[in-house]
Symmetry: C2
Subunit: 147 residues, 2 copies
DNA sequence: CTTGAAGCTACAGTTGCTGTAGCTCTTATA
DNA sequence: TATAAGAGCTACAGCAACTGTAGCTTCAAG
């Protein structure tokens, strides 16, 4: 029987986070001591480890919920699980691409600043006047995406 | 004199977001018509475009606030502006590195699933049993970092 | 003068937690 | 067995950076 603190230490989770997962139904309600404290079993520890690892891989809690549900129906579900993972991979790749273009632009910005030692800083100019910023805002593109 | 909707269209911002920026003091309080509607000038449009472009580059609203404050003091501030940009670049690079390692792991996971056609899906196993997940949770590492 | 789009305020909700206040419980030691 | 530290409890507020909703008012074209 594990206390919530032990669960937290073993999985690198904060205690409040575990309670939060319980609150949103991602972790089951565990047993309690007479005094009302939570006591967990080995299966709970596995489940929490699963959640944390998936979170580290960038899966949303919704996707994790999906994976946990799928794992309860072992037949016919490998393809669906694969689809969730594929979707996650595509999201990660899109974020990488986006960040890489940001990196290029930031580098360029910083380079221009250094080349222009005495005059006013170019970084602010670049930020102010970037071409595509006062036009062409119909296409949504990646705008809503988290970086 | 520009309406808030025109500002929104020109910069690709939602109307509510502009009002939000005003609320948190990032945009100034504009003039109002007799009926209470906001009317903006060219300087406001520039400032909003600056904010949006910086946001697209991944700068936090706090960093943008810093840049806007610095841009009001043109002397001696280029180095500080450069520092903000350098910090942003480092953050972007760290996020790219993190995402790339996620990508590798996701790919590996998916590959194992495909190689194992009939048996139970390996993805769940991998998520459940990753080596470092039930140990070594003292070092913070990149754990708190946004992906 | 009417009508419909656009604007207004105020507030709730989003994601994934984290922090705080003010308690109570457990457990090791004296 | 008493006590005290540390861990746990609930309930709620707060974070970033918006987004959406309800229910109204104003503006501008025809």
């Amino acid at each position: 029987m594990l206390t919530i603190g032990t669960m937290a230490k073993r999985t690198g989770t904060k205690v409040q986070t575990i309670r939060y997962y319980e609150q949103i139904g991602l972790m089951p309600e565990p047993g309690r001591t007479g005094g009302g404290q939570r006591r967990y079993g080995a299966a709970d520890l596995d489940r929490l480890a699963f959640i944390r690892h998936a979170r580290e891989l960038g899966f949303s809690l919704e996707a994790i919920r999906e994976l946990l549900d799928l794992s309860d129906t072992p037949e016919k579900s490998c393809a669906e699980i694969d689809a969730v993972a594929q979707r996650q991979l595509r999201e990660v790749q899109a974020r990488i691409a986006r960040l890489q273009s940001l990196e290029v632009e930031l580098r360029r910005m910083i380079a221009e600043c250094h080349s222009d030692r005495v005059a006013d800083c170019r970084i602010l100019e670049v930020l102010r006047d970037h071409e595509e910023c006062l036009s062409d805002h119909k296409g949504a593109g990646l705008r809503g995406m988290p970086l």
